[in-house]
Point group: C2
Chain length 233, copies 2
């Protein structure tokens, strides 16, 4: 073997970090694309998001292989091992965010043009804005190795849950007002739920990032509430 | 250190395998409990499923720690490393199955007593039966290290998707017939979707198990169809 291909563990880890950032960028653009496609009934854009998911899946497989070969070749201990295993987990969450964005995009055709009333559209847009901010944010603060920023961001997820609960109730109201809204609103219900779940995956990434950065678990006291599954809803 | 605590890599791996089987058993009992609670409006049983989820989460954390310490201490190569990383991934999918069962259980109170019409109840029961068969099946065939069985099981997921599509349509019909059904049917819609997603996690586990057992990926040609997200639905 030539010396030119000899790399350090840190180089390898940087490569893995680069892949994670790329996956994070793609996840953000998929969430943004899926929401825009949904709100403007843009079927071409929806198709683009669906096809982006294959890129995401391939990136995850690449990351997994690199990470596993890195563990096998370098046999890292403690902190380093935590960083590599953390990267595998983050890639898993990013891949699921891509899946959820794809699922929203796939519903765009089913919902069609005329279905989203303006008020509802604003609510979903506001919710999607919060979610997108979280997706971009988690990749950024982790890139800056900012453990405190990661902890703050994790706690922001509650705002998404609150917004989801209000979108959920709005959707039920539209369905009750006019049965012709039911099919479209059902799809929107799943879209909103998917946005909420994207927020949950950001939470996972944040908790995982915190563990990688500090070696400690974030306290599990985060107020978790998808209230729509509660009796009161 | 005393010789009494010296264990072989195979012993360690067996311990990890034992934890996976326990998590698989718990996942099956949670899915079963959540479905029974849903169909018989059994709130006490629903609460038990919700509290089981904490046990599942703790098991996943334990498995992760064991697996990572195993990698660090034993520095396994190739096949052995694949088995350990595979166990980490399987534990992740089992933990999510637990989450989804918990989510179904949490909706039991919201739906209440009188809401599930008999026909619908039968459809959901049939769907849950398929899902439960898959959850039990994947843990069994993996335990027997039966790669062909794993591949066959993966392809069975299509039956769940077909069943889900029909439950979805039934639910829409009930909502359209009478707006008073909308709230309960919306919760049932999410329950059915959760069952379908449990099937997807079984698929992940099967693909992962196949890779661990054979070193090869299952061909990605599985006909994947949640048709409810398609325009025709």
């Amino acid at each position: 073997m030539s010396e030119h291909i000899v790399t350090s563990f840190d180089d390898d880890l940087r490569e893995v970090g680069k892949l994670i950032r790329e996956m994070g960028g793609l996840a953000g653009s998929m969430v943004n694309g899926a929401t825009m496609a949904l709100l403007s009934a843009d079927i071409a854009l929806a198709h683009r998001v669906v096809s982006d998911d294959a890129v995401m899946d391939a990136s995850q497989r690449e990351l997994d292989e690199r990470a596993i070969s890195l563990i096998a070749r370098r046999q890292p201990m403690a902190d380093d091992l935590r960083a590599v295993v953390g990267a595998i987990r983050m890639a898993g969450d990013l891949e699921r965010i891509g899946d959820l964005a794809k699922n929203i995009a796939k519903r765009v055709e089913a919902i069609g043009h005329d279905a989203v009333p303006r008020d509802l559209s604003h609510s979903i847009e506001a919710m999607a804005g919060l979610v997108l901010g979280q997706v971009h944010g988690v990749v950024d603060v982790y890139g800056e190795r900012d453990a405190e920023g990661v902890a703050l961001l994790r706690d922001e997820d509650e705002r998404i849950d609150v917004k989801y609960t209000s979108v959920f109730r709005e959707l039920l109201t539209y369905m009750m007002e006019d049965p012709r809204n039911i099919t479209a609103c059902t799809h929107l219900l799943f879209c909103a739920k998917n946005l909420e779940r994207i927020g949950d995956h950001v939470t996972n990434i944040a908790e995982n990032a915190y563990y990688v950065l500090t070696g400690q678990q974030l306290p599990a006291t985060r107020p978790k509430s998808d209230e729509t599954a509660q009796p009161a809803a």
